[in-house]
Structures are given as structure tokens and as C-alpha cells.
Symmetry: C2
């Protein structure tokens, strides 16, 4: 196997897709921003089919939400991530005809993404209206060394003529979004309008601001020194421009770097604009393309060193896995003020909102392989505690916080509360993620400074939102009414098993960490007003949490009434009627037992010690039969559980559908952006699934079992400051301590000691 090829994503080897899907797949990003890999001549010209754009994490405008009946406490504005002008955009002028005024013919010849370095290479053949043909080659990357930079090199060579070609690098428009109508509530809302001014500078530097959210950011454009270009003014707008004399067969190159600031309130940005301009001019001067690329490639190289998963036995699959890891890395906010949008930074689907999947489906990858990023992602939630506290009061919840179901700025942005605000499990999901982070990293500082406060305040929410049952069925138990679990095909129920079990965990870890900090840092409890009485209340509610169980079917019940409804006739429903939410009224869907995604079985997954294999099998069989996987978050969970049940074929089947989702556009909407959480699920499937990773007290356990098709699986994790490499074959497991102190771990629940000098080789068969 050619090592290099293992990281190449070559267009010709992908299944055929429409243009917008490829734009998504080849998006370049670095957690701060993402640039779709569109036709660089499109701009906002609707003559072309693409949907180009730059997305900056945390840069959104507000669009007013409208309701037929507008109730108190409803989210009044949706935050919508802004679609900014495509940085790849370029204007050519041939025979006096500008490509942005009279569309040129653009033919995509090839694309190749080198995931190892993060460099995208593209070839387009372009024909002017005067039938002059030239080839445009792009080489671009989002810098991983300096998160503000996007770098792009253009090469042009004439194919059928000799003569002058003028290049204008300018953004004559500001509103990038190209109108499209859709009834899919998962796509984005109508456009938002942006304003733009150019800052006084030697360079073209734009200050882009939103109308309603009053945010702004600065984008500076600089020609790199490889082939300098003059700054001029065309149509009263600053630009770089140059006229090349092309000769057939000889290519000419020129490259640019863009510096994209963090978004800040407009006022702050305006005040700092001149110093930003000065600093940009200075920082971007005298940089070469190669220099910037080397710095970025080195940095992403570290990511691969930490995070790569090497699978042998299926070359194509090994690459698909890397594709998922690459996009996760590109999507994750890393400034403590942003998280991972559901579509990464590859599109405006779901408005660019952060959901529970950031913590539950993507964070584990970072916790184990890039803990510094995981910490930043959790800090984002910490910084939105004030909004979550206000929201709780607004919803009549007396204590604690209520994190929003979907948001960018920390405020609730969900306009359909039964499948939004009612998913209060988000609170417990965040607490679960913090606990996992602390247990895997041993980062006690984070716990003390940030994590504990979130855990306490989310635990308080449950005490306020739930109550002690008084009726016969719930007497003496802690019950939680009016919630929606992960399965959005069932809404506003009492005692959703998943929610109650997660709330129980939230309360338990609040007790655990309270007791721990009471001894080491008693002042923290005083600051947060945590009393022994409150700890006792947490403990009691956790101990007596009501968990609905069907004694007839001997399964965990999804909620108090779930098993009483008729089952949706899944087999009789035509394929084109899925996803159900696009074809049936919510009331119609709620009227049946039908799951959009893993719900109750998520607890089997998250709490493996809750049930024995027989219980797991009953839950799995029951819920698998009523689940339609209309959510991309579903299959991976079923796959991991199938692995635990030693249903090797099922586990492999579910995994293959998970890992291929965006490359095969199997959900049909990759054009709106990647399914970031599903990519996180791929990693979960590999590590929690096939490698059987699980947490033990201060340690971890592996229960590996590879599909027959695979020869080996190798990956690295960080655990309590140690880097550990794990290699699994059909017959053996090898565990290697790459750095750090000796540690105990478990293999199939048998303890081993790992020291630096020693490998652990364990034979499975």
C-alpha cells in the first residue's frame, strides 16, 4: 500500500455526486472557518449551480422567527450562521470580457485532497465567451498553524491561444448566498443581509458586519511574495490585479493569503480595525506559499500523529475513516467561544447550530486524541452558563440552568419546542461529557475551574424540573414530565428512559465531585452554595430515579406510555416516504411507536454496566424493530451494541453505513453540509465498538473484536497524560506506552500493567 495514497481523496475515485455535494466534501477548514470547494468563478452569480461560501465559526445573524401563535417564552430569533463571500472567488478578463459580468464556461477536471497536509488541488478548464480556453489549477489550504489564514495559489495556462489574461482578485459583492427554496426544515432559512466596508489600508481589508446581531469580523487579502501583485481600485473597490501574457504550454502562478479575524461585537471590531489592518499588513508581508504550507502541514501532522486510525485489510475503508477524522478536526471550534456545528463549517444546514451531538457524538474523539480541543469545546458551554441560567428562569425553573437545544450564542434558537427545548437531556449530556473528559484526562484544574460548576447547576435543574411521584405508579420515585428524548418521533412524554437515566447520572456525578471537592477544595462548594443538604437531595433523587420498565416485554420502556401505542407499519411505508418528518404531520408520527433514532438503547450504550447481555439483547431487538434511522445519529449506536452482542455482521453493516454517509451522500443532503456527528460516530464505532473501549475507575478496558474483513486496527489515545498506542489484529492486541508514567489497564476486564519499557501483547485467539 502506498502510504501517501492512503490520505488522498481523489475525485475520480469517489462515487458520482452532484456539484454541491462535492463542494461540501472538499471543504477546507480549521475550526475557525470553512471554505466550500466551489467553482471559483461563480461568486454569487446564479448562472452556476453551486453554493459557494465562507463560514466563520460563531459568526451569525439573527432572523426573526414567526409563529402563527406566538407564545410566551418562545425563541424570538433564530441565529443563522452567515454565508460569507467565497475567498476562492476570482475574476478573469479576456478580450475585454469580465468573467463576473458574462459567465465563462467552467469545467471541473479534477480534485484531489491530501488529508495528510490539508492541501486541496483542483483543475478547471475555462472557456471565455470568445472561445479562448485556459486551464486553472488551484492549490489551497486552511492553515492549521495560524487559524486565521486561508491560503490559495492559482496557476493559469493557455490551452488554445497566446495573449493577455487579466486577473482581478476582488470581492465586488458581499451577500454570497444564492437563493434556493426548500421545504426541508433541516436546511437553512432565507438569507441574511450583510454589510461591508473597506478599511483604510494598503491592502484590500473588509470589515463585514451583520444587521441584527451586530457582529463584525475583518478579512484581509494579501498577495504572497511568490508572484507579487499590485493593489489597485476597480469600480471603486480595492483589489489585486495583474495582466499576464500567456503562452501555450507555459503556466503562470500567483497566490494569496486571507487573514480572517475572530468575530466580535461590531463596536469592538470597529475600534480595533486600524490596529488589525496594521498587524495584517505586517504579518502577511514577505510570506511565501511554501512557508505557510509547511507550517500548516507540520501542525496537521501532529493531529495525525495523535488521532489517526490505521486500518488494514480494506484500503478504501481506511481512507473513508480518515476522511471522517479529517472533517472532525476541521469542524471543531478551538477558542473556547465556539463548538462544532451540526454540519461543521461546510454549509449552512441546521443554521450552523450546535446541538447535543457536539458533546455526545464528537467530543469523545477529541477527549481521547486531542484533549486540548476537547477542553475548548467544553469551555464554550461554560461561557454560556449565564444564558442557560436566564433561560431556566424564563421557563419557570427555579434553580439551575437550562442549556439551549440549538444555538450559536448560547440562547435557545429552537422554533419547534416539542423537538427542541423539550430535549432537556442536553443538560445531562453536557454533564456526562465533562465527567468523561475529567475521567480520561485527569484534568482536575478544569473540573475545579469550570466543570464542577456546570455539573452542579445542571443537577439543580433536574431537582427543579422533576418532582417526587405521588400517584400509585410513581410513588416515592423521582419523575420527570414533559420532555422529549433523542428520538424526535416521540415528543413531550413523561419519564423518557434516556432522559431520566442521564439525569440520574448528572445527579450522581454532582454527588461524586461534591464529595471529592469537599475534602480538597471546600471553598468551591461555598462559592457555589452547595450544602450537605443539597448533596443529599441530589443523592436521593439519583437513588430513586424512576426508570420505566415493561414487565410484560421485559424491556426498558422509552417512556411511561410508549409501549401502549401501535407500531408504525415500517415495511408497508414506501421508501420515498422517508424521512417520515418530511412526509407526515408530527401528530401522525407521534401516534405510533416509531423511532427516528436510538433513544432508550443509547442508555445501554452509555451505561454498559446497567444491564446484562440478556437485557441488552431484548432492548436491542425491540427497539431495532421500530427504528427507521431517519437521523444520522442512529446507526452507529445500534452498531456498537451489535458488537457487544457479538452480532458481528450487524455491527459491521451498521458501521459501513455510518462511515460512508457523506462520501456516498446516503442521506441525500450532504450538499447542505457534512454530517459531523455521524463522523464522530464512526470513531465511536471503531474505538467504543470494535476496540471495545470503556472506562474503569482511573483506567480503561478494551474488549476488541475485529470484523473478519479487517487485518488490523491501530490507534492512539491520551489517558491521564500518557500516550498509548493500541494495535488490534484478528488474533492479538498490542498495547504500547508511548509517553508518561506506568499505568494499569484492562483487557477484556483482566488487569494489565503498562510501563514504558514494555509492550503488552495479548493473544485473543
Amino acid at each position: 500500500m502506498d502510504t501517501n495514497d492512503a490520505f488522498q481523496l481523489h475525485l475520480q475515485k469517489l462515487p458520482p455526486q452532484d456539484e454541491k455535494t462535492f463542494e461540501t466534501i472538499y471543504t477546507l477548514g480549521n475550526g475557525h472557518f470553512g471554505v466550500r470547494a466551489s467553482n471559483p468563478l461563480q461568486g454569487n452569480n446564479s448562472h452556476f449551480n453551486g453554493q459557494p461560501g465562507l463560514f466563520v465559526n460563531g459568526f451569525y445573524d439573527l432572523t426573526q422567527l414567526s409563529y402563527g401563535e406566538n407564545y410566551s417564552g418562545y425563541a424570538q430569533n433564530s441565529q443563522t450562521i452567515c454565508q460569507l463571500p467565497d475567498l476562492r472567488f476570482i475574476i478573469f478578463e479576456l478580450d475585454g470580457i469580465r468573467s463576473d459580468e458574462t459567465p465563462y464556461n467552467v469545467k471541473l477536471v479534477d480534485k484531489n485532497l491530501d488529508m495528510r497536509t490539508g492541501v486541496l488541488m483542483e483543475i478547471f478548464d475555462i472557456k471565455s465567451p470568445t472561445n479562448k480556453l485556459f486551464r486553472l489549477t488551484l492549490q489551497s489550504f486552511a492553515s492549521h498553524a495560524d487559524k486565521h489564514l486561508f491560503v490559495i495559489k492559482y496557476s493559469v495556462s493557455a490551452l488554445n491561444f497566446t495573449g493577455a489574461l487579466t486577473v482581478i482578485k476582488q470581492h465586488p459583492y458581499i451577500n454570497q448566498q444564492i437563493q434556493s427554496r426548500t421545504d426541508d426544515m433541516r436546511a437553512s432559512r432565507p438569507e441574511t443581509a450583510l454589510d461591508r466596508t473597506f478599511i483604510k489600508s494598503k491592502l484590500p481589508i473588509m470589515l463585514i458586519s451583520t444587521r441584527k446581531s451586530q457582529l463584525a469580523l475583518i478579512v484581509a487579502q494579501q498577495a504572497l511574495k511568490d508572484n507579487p501583485m499590485q493593489v489597485g481600485m476597480i469600480d471603486d473597490l480595492p483589489c489585486h490585479n495583474k495582466t499576464f501574457d500567456l503562452t501555450q504550454g507555459m503556466s503562470q502562478s500567483f497566490s494569496f493569503v486571507y487573514a480572517i479575524s475572530y468575530p466580535h461585537p461590531l463596536l469592538k471590531t470597529t475600534l480595533s480595525q486600524s490596529s488589525f489592518a496594521a498587524s495584517a499588513e505586517k504579518r502577511l508581508a514577505n510570506k511565501s506559499f511554501k512557508q505557510l504550507l509547511d507550517e500548516s502541514a507540520a501542525k496537521i501532522g501532529e493531529f495525525w500523529d495523535n488521532s489517526d486510525v490505521e486500518l488494514t485489510g480494506d484500503t478504501a475503508l481506511a481512507k473513508d475513516i480518515r476522511f471522517n477524522l479529517f472533517h472532525l478536526y476541521q469542524a471543531a471550534g478551538n477558542d473556547g467561544l465556539t463548538s462544532i456545528p451540526a454540519k461543521g463549517l461546510t454549509g449552512s444546514g441546521y443554521e450552523g447550530h450546535y446541538f447535543w451531538d457536539a458533546e455526545m457524538f464528537m467530543l469523545p474523539f477529541f477527549i481521547y486524541t486531542e484533549p486540548a480541543i476537547a477542553r475548548q469545546l467544553l469551555l464554550y458551554r461554560y461561557h454560556t452558563l449565564p444564558q442557560a441560567q436566564r433561560r431556566a428562569r424564563e421557563m419557570g425553573v427555579k434553580n439551575g440552568v437550562m442549556f439551549p437545544w440549538r444555538t450559536i450564542n448560547g440562547e435557545e434558537s429552537s422554533s419547534y419546542y416539542p423537538a427542541g427545548t423539550a430535549q432537556v437531556h442536553i443538560n445531562a449530556d453536557i454533564a456526562y461529557a465533562i465527567d468523561t473528559y475529567v475521567r480520561v484526562t485527569g484534568d482536575e484544574d478544569f473540573l475545579y475551574d469550570y466543570g464542577y460548576e456546570i455539573i452542579v447547576k445542571t443537577a439543580r435543574f433536574w431537582l427543579s424540573y422533576g418532582h417526587w411521584g405521588k400517584d400509585i405508579a410513581h410513588k416515592g420515585k423521582f419523575v420527570i414530565d414533559d420532555v422529549t428524548g433523542p428520538d424526535e418521533y416521540t415528543a413531550m412524554v413523561s419519564n423518557n428512559y434516556f432522559t431520566n437515566r442521564m439525569a440520574q447520572n448528572n445527579l450522581s456525578i454532582a454527588v461524586k465531585y461534591s464529595n471529592q471537592l469537599k475534602h480538597s477544595h471546600a471553598e468551591k462548594l461555598v462559592t457555589l452554595n452547595v450544602t450537605d443538604e443539597e448533596i443529599a437531595q441530589f443523592n436521593q433523587a439519583a437513588d430513586e430515579m424512576y426508570l420505566p420498565y415493561d414487565d410484560q416485554k421485559k424491556i426498558k420502556m422509552q417512556d411511561d406510555l410508549s409501549t401502549s401505542k401501535p407500531v408504525w407499519p415500517i415495511k408497508e411505508t414506501p421508501r420515498n416516504q422517508f424521512p417520515l418528518l418530511l412526509h407526515f404531520h408530527p401528530m401522525t408520527i407521534y401516534h405510533y411507536q416509531v423511532n427516528k433514532q436510538a433513544d432508550t438503547v443509547m442508555t445501554d450504550f452509555l451505561f454498559p454496566k446497567d444491564q446484562d447481555a440478556a437485557q441488552l439483547k431484548r432492548d436491542f431487538d425491540y427497539y431495532e424493530a421500530i427504528t427507521v434511522h431517519d437521523s444520522s445519529l442512529s446507526r452507529a449506536i445500534f452498531g456498537i451494541l451489535a458488537h457487544r452482542l457479538h452480532h458481528a455482521d450487524d455491527a459491521y453493516g451498521y458501521f459501513m453505513q455510518t462511515v460512508m454517509m457523506d462520501l456516498s451522500n446516503s442521506q441525500g443532503n450532504t450538499s447542505d453540509g457534512i454530517h459531523a456527528a455521524n463522523m464522530g460516530s464512526s470513531w465511536l464505532s471503531l474505538i467504543y465498538g470494535f476496540a471495545g473501549m470503556g472506562l474503569e475507575k482511573d483506567s480503561f478496558n478494551l474488549s476488541p473484536e475485529l470484523p473478519e474483513a479487517w487485518s488490523s486496527l491501530r490507534f492512539r489515545i491520551w489517558f491521564h497524560g500518557r500516550q498509548i498506542e493500541i494495535t488490534i489484529t484478528q488474533t492479538a492486541v498490542t498495547v504500547k506506552l508511548l509517553s508518561g508514567n506506568p499505568i494499569k489497564f484492562y483487557l477484556k476486564h483482566k488487569a494489565f500493567k503498562l510501563t514504558k519499557e514494555q509492550l503488552v501483547n495479548h493473544f485473543l485467539k
Copy 2:
């Protein structure tokens, strides 16, 4: 007591209210249209505070509904009743200044409504910008003899000057609505735009049409012969106009009649416009005000003969009762294509929609006193069966029909389904009303031609929407999931007691009438495909209907889980936080046991034989304690049940709050229109409550008991073609057969025979 005064509603004797509330209270209508009693100089000038308008039953436009997340099957358009130009509007010109261009000062001096004749008399003192003062007296009525006519007489007399006054009777604007912003989802939506053309005619005749619903109606204006006026053109628009020479102390009069057509599709209206014009010219020629008034007064006199309720012992209350009956009569559609909007034809609140209250709260009054109107109201539902059938299919319900929760044209117009479409009890409510109509009137033709089909098709809905329980709690029972009962503070529950009990009744009467018609009109069952097997299914579902009951508290449970929630802290909630729906998120409200209105106890009311007195008392006490009466439909039901429990003080208290609601503006929103259903409830309270009216097989029972404050209560009913007068005093009941054949009836469940020659006098004490 002055008999005449008993029908006078004199402004000076009413509690002080704001102008818009009085506009509502004094609205004149006749079931076809309503005209608010506004400042006749306002027009659509926002200089004044009023909200003038003409509302025509069934004339609506569509406004697009917008949703943050727009799901399949959602209502896409709201029907909104159109606010048409005020027919009272008039323009004066003094010293060259037109009152519609430069606002005059208008001071309301007095109003008096003679409910006996339906004539409204009003006095305004008007001052021109040149300080000329004159008095304007209006006398107006909506004709009850010819439902198309609105008649108005203006008298002017100079108070401080002598000279010329020009009168222009013209509608220079078409869009009447005056912008107002509100967050109250019970008020109306933003305006709709109307178009208007004048038809070629000798008279000013407008064809008014809507933009989206493509409906049109025609309004013709004619000066009456009492003081003829010329038709002319001013500003290119036709008008009547005349200049009067005023002398102080001498008044001059002129009067107009408007003919308002029924609304029809625009195309049809356009095609018939010339014949309408010709006919209007002919019909309206040579009519005098007195002639039109006499015809109308005679007709409304018949209404009072049939429907008056005479109460002695409380003169003010007696008048309040008449006020309610008068407005009910004014509100009820009577063309078989319209029903009773929630606000009558007095305002645009609730968009002018028809709800369940038409059948459940208002129809009984008409069934017993004006059965011909009751029949028209039920025909409206019959004519919307095709829409209800389409809606059922759209909602995935395989058989039967699904009537809309709120509508004008028969299509669902509810934009918040948990408190809209989910109130599927509307189906059973309509069936219940038909059964009552048939049992009271004996109108077998209606049953055969229309009613039976509705009963069968609604019964089929229940068989499809509900299912047979399989879990332990519901095994072998017929259960109905995902519904909302009348109480909108609890939504989307399983086995709402009210819904299930009403569905049971719907199924039972389907069986009853099927068995009846099988013998008399077997062909009807064939036409509707009703088989013995289906009748058996109806019967079985009715017999085994699940009715939730709390064995601990020994009360009917509102739904499967209702009694498990904590009770809303009603006493601790500040007064200004009511109604709760304007101050709390729905999820917050649903999280508690708190009832907006009578829900489960509605079944105690509707099915008196379901429970003994002890059960009724437990239900009453439990639900009264958790009910906040944020709906105007609530108190009357509790009052009637209090009467049955012999809680005389409670019954009287609830009744007094019901009967006074609009005159005292106790809900605070009478300005948006009357609470028509509450007015129906007043009648229910008197007849079903204090008189104790109830149905027996082919007969009725009275169990009267008057509040101590009252001397007597007298009313008339029609029962199976007989008119019967009932007089109740503190000590005796007198029942008199006014027309028709002898009949048996019951007094406190004791049988009596009533013949034409004989009164029944029964002593209560």
C-alpha cells in the same frame, strides 16, 4: 318595571369602558353581517382610537402561516375574516374642510340600543376645525327581515352656527383595518388587502374582492326616499352628496340602506354583478326608513317571542341576559354555509373562526328556541364534509373525517396543533350536537339527509384514530392517544377522559341511528357503506372505551398521567400573570396540573347519568381547585354543576361572572369582539342549570331551583314541534303548552302529561 326599559341598553347605565369595547357591545348584526358601533367620522384614519368595521360571515382572505420549522401537514394558510369599510362612515364638509382630510373633533354624547327592535340610537357632538359645532344623531339597524340590509338614518342640527353643511356618503378607502400590534395570539393577524371596483350602475355599488381566497361580495348604497340625495362623482368615486342649510335648533335628516350580498367566488360574483346591480336598484327604490324598520322589528319580535328569558327579581340582570341572547341571535349564520364565529360578527378576534363552541355552547340555545337556525348551523358542518375527509387522509387517518379545530371554509386553520388540530374531540362534539338536535326537534328528515352521514363518518374516525390496548394498563380496552381535550393547558395526552367519553357517545349514537335507519331506510346504510360488521365494531369500541380513573383519589382522571403532576401554585401566582398562556411557555404550563377551563367535568355536565352525586362532588372539588378559568367557557360549566350539587351560592356566583363578561369587559378583551360562546353559556346556565333541563327518551325533564335573589324565570322552548312555556318561581313550576299535540314530560324525574287545555302547576316547596 317598565317593560320597554327592560330591552334598552343605555350607555349611561353601563360600567365605564374604553371606546373599542363599546364599539363591540353596540355592534349591530343579523348573522349575515355585523357593523361595529364606531365613530362614524373615523373611516380608516388612525387619528382616532376606534376600530370600525363591517364583518360579513364567511368572507375571509388567506394569510400565509409561517413556521420556524414547517412540517408536513401543517396548515399553510390562515383564513382571516375581512374587516370591510365601515358602512356608518360619513364625510362632512364645513368651510371647505372635509372631515376625512382634516379630523373633526368628535364627542360621543350617548348611545341606546333597543334590543326589542334592534335599533341603535346614538348622539355625537362634532366640532369642525373652524369651531363650528353640530349634533349628529344616528339611528341604525341590521335588518332581520332582509338579511342583506343595513339601514342608517343621520340627523344633523347646528349648535352654534347657521350655514351650509355638505354631506358626502362615500367610501374613499377600501382597507378598513387600522394597524395595531399585539402579542396576544387570540387577537387577529396583520391586515389583509382588499380590492374594490365600482359596478356600472345608477347607484354607488362596490364589488369587494380578496387577493388570495378570491372571494367577492357586492355592497350597494342607496339613499332612502325620506330625504333623497343625488348620486354624483367626487374624486372619481361615486357617492351620494348634498349640501344642507342648517339653522340652529332645526335638525335635518337623511337615510341610507346598504345591500350586502353573500360572498361567492370572485368569478361568480363578477358574472352576476350587473344583475345584482339591477336588482339592488329595483329593490331599494322607494323604500322608507320606517318601512324597513317595521319589517325588521316584526321579525326580531318573533325571535323574542320564541327566545326571550324573562327573569324577575333582578332588573339589571334580566337585561344582561337579554343582551346575551340578542348577540347570539345577531351572530348566528343562517344560510347553511356559515356558523357562529367565536367573536360573533363583532370583531376580528380569533380571525373570525368557528370552533367547537358553536356546537357545544351556542347551538343548544338555538335548538330549543330557534330550531330553524340550529338546522342551518349544522348544515354548515355537513357542507364541509369533503374538506374534513381530505384532512383525515392528510393526517394519515384511513377512515372517516376529521373536522378542523378552527376554520371558516372548512379547512384547518390552526397554526399550533397541540392546542388546535389535536383537539380531535371536535368530531364527537359535532355528533353530540346533531344527536341533541334530533332528539329535541324530532327532525328525522335532517337525520336522514345530513346528520346520520356526519355521525357515521365521525364514528369511523374514532375507530381509525384509536386502537385496542395491548399493554397491561389498557388491555382489551379501546384507547385514544395523542389528543388534547378542551383544557388547552394540557396537551397531546393519551386517553383524555372528555375525548374518550365523547368518542364513546359518538360511536354509541352511530350504533343507535344505524339500527334505527336499518329498519326504516336501509338504503341509506347501503349508500354510506355501513355494514353490520361496522356497526358491531362501533358498538364494541363504545362498550370497551377506556375511561381513566384514579383509584386513590376516586376521581375521573383527565388523562392517563394527569394526576401524577404537581399542581400549579395558583394562589401564589400574581393576578397579572393570568391568563397563564400569555405569560408562560406552553411547556412550563403543561408541566403542572392546571386547567384553563372545564375539561373532565364537562363529561359530568354532558352525561348527567354517568355518575352519582358523590362522584360528581369529588370530580367537581378536585377539578375546581386546579382550574383557573382562563377560558371564557369555563365558569358556566362549573356553575351548572354547582347547581346540581345544590351549592346555590357557587352556582349563582359562577353564573353572574358568566352573564356579565362582555358588559363588564371582565376578560379584558371585549374590544376584539364579544365572547359569543360565553353568551351561549349564560343560556345554558339558566336553562340547563337553574331550570335543570335535561333530555329523556322522547321527552325532557326539569329540575328547577332558583337563586334566592330571583322571583321568577320564564322561557319558552320548542320540543318536537310543540312550543312550551315554562315559568319557575321560588315555590312552583308552571308548564304551558302553547302549540302542538299533548306530550309527556318530567319534573324532578316525575312524569307529567301536558295537553293544550291544561297547565301543569307543580309546587316545589
